[in-house]
């Protein structure tokens, strides 16, 4: 067993809350891999993989020599053509950062809900591009014919996919009709290997566009 730094779970929770599960997982594997090689990443997966299934998935991919999925921002922009309002539910900064500059005149808001502790002021300030924070009580004012919803998917398996719990609080039968476009953006590219703690399984056909 390689010598993992102490208190990794606390550090990972912090990073996952403010960067996103997938982004934080690649960051942790890359840094620990650079410091301690495969043995340390394997130790990371063994220690935290069961608690954080996205980290387990990413560490396994890293150990196989695979790279993170390249964000397909242009395809999101394509789906959002004609959209004036975009509400982002969930957070993956390695995907959002390259997307935001491409969205031009679209007003982007982010739902300030997370199962982890998050300093949303810091998150929003670092997203830049005039992204506005919006709470659960207010997000429906963003609905309309030229509005879109975007969330991140954690792997697709047949007709189902996994999302962060905030999505369940937004997505209902009434909400589905209030937004023109509902985009699900897969950040893993394949199903996870262990029980998807933190995440919820939903039907893929909830989305008008799957990327």
């Amino acid at each position: 067993m390689s010598a993992l730094p102490g208190g990794l779970e606390q550090a990972f929770r912090l990073a996952a809350g403010e960067l996103g599960m997938c982004t934080a997982s690649w960051l942790f594997t890359a840094q620990l891999g650079a410091a301690g090689g495969q043995a340390m990443v394997a130790a990371l997966r063994d220690e935290l993989g069961r608690t954080f299934p996205v980290l387990d998935f990413v560490a396994t991919r890293w150990l196989r020599g695979e790279a993170p999925l390249a964000p397909v921002s242009e395809r999101v922009v394509e789906r959002c053509r004609g959209v004036e309002q975009l509400l982002v539910v969930g957070l993956e900064t390695s995907f959002l950062d390259p997307l935001l500059p491409l969205l031009g005149g679209v007003r982007v808001s982010i739902l300030t809900e997370s199962p982890l502790k998050v300093d949303w002021r810091r998150v929003v300030a670092n997203l830049g591009h005039d992204v506005r924070p919006v709470g659960l009580a207010d997000f429906q004012v963003l609905a309309g014919r030229r509005s879109a919803l975007l969330t991140f998917l954690y792997g697709r398996h047949g007709r189902t996919t996994h999302v962060m719990p905030a999505w369940l609080r937004v997505m209902g039968a009434d909400v589905r009709t209030q937004f023109r476009t509902i985009v699900g953006w897969d950040v893993l590219g394949a199903p996870m290997y262990v029980y998807p703690r933190w995440l919820f399984e939903i039907p893929s056909d909830d989305f008008t566009d799957l990327l």
Partner: protein, 442 residues
Amino acid sequence: MHPQAILTAILVVTLLLQAAVPRMRLVIVNAGAALACLATSLLGLATTGTLLAEVPWDVLVILVGLGLLSEMMAESRLFGLLAVASTRLSRANPRKVLLAFCVGMYAVSGLVNNLTALILVLPILHILLQLMSVDQRYTSWCLGALLVACNLGGAATPIGDFPAILLLGRGSMDFTAYLSLALPTTLVALVILLLLVLYVVRPDRTLGHGEASSRLSVAVMSALYRNTRLDWRVLAPSAVMLAVMLVGWTVLPRESGMTPELICWLGVGTALLLRPSLGEVLMRRRVDVEAALFLLALFVMVGAVRRSGMFKDVAAMLAELPAPPLAQLLVFLVLAGILTGLFSAGPSMAALLDVAESLAQRMDGPAVYVGLALSVCAGSSLFLTAATSGPMAQALTERAELKDHRGQPLAFGFFHFLPVGMVGFSVILLVGIAFALWRVGF
């Protein structure tokens, strides 16, 4: 009952009450001030108008002005970026983190309001502590040393904190004279403190730290603040006007009419005018009303006691002590430190300055004034409750919900700070006494 006893009792009881119930601090001191005005009027010593006229408004102008300038600098994200730079510089090594943050806060506290700087820097340090997976001992010493460094920075310059501002405002010492003596003295105290903490206490000795931890901490911090940029449009006017004010305080004599508070008022006013929209928001919402009201009430109560002749009598008693003047000075400095620890810097400095002025007539003025500023700084560092920054750091740390590597919660309360406070108090007081002895040619 003797007027002196009545007015002193009002002051002391008020100070004890506000120290015992800090949540009701403003209500208590303002009630005490009103009571002092009533007692002074009934005793025929002075009217409320007279007491209010004796309030050192110049000090309040400087405090409010510098507070606004600090807020403006905070808006430029300067402090957050400095904290992130400290993280990169220290490579998240616990020993270097403690050193970098203490030195950084010492430097910042000499120029701007240390409360504003702490509010912005502490959350970043908390993140770092989470990433480094520290233990209770390190947390207590790191945060404690940071607070003591803030106090030392505040005493290093005539604009850093209330005691020095009072000396500047009252004309007890001019800007250059205070700076040239207090800066090196506080620097010596800081070096001794850091040497003791880093090489004797060694709070990092139980922490494991390796390349993996270092890489991870720096990478996460960099990712969390990846798009934070300095807002030069806000920083430039505030930094330039601070520089102009420093030059003004240094070269313009008081006799020219360009007094310290006027230089401050003009400088801060110009900085705010250069960014008028932000300036208006800051003036409406960010003036530290709590500090201003607290000090106003305090000045009124101290003014009432002064009217009773109490301070003259204390100064005379000190002069009549069967001891040489040097011993009298040492007694005064030690008492000032202890009183500040109990009552905080504002009350003790406001009350003791009259006695200091009397002492300064008989011996080297700078030895008394800078020695007093250092004693007050030592007292502010004794207990977590002795300076406003202490309870604030406690609250922010509670909110951060820090945990050690076993998942046990980390706290920063009165008793966690006490060992740091004892070391800080002793070091600063001894350095202050050594300075006074050196000045009087002992």
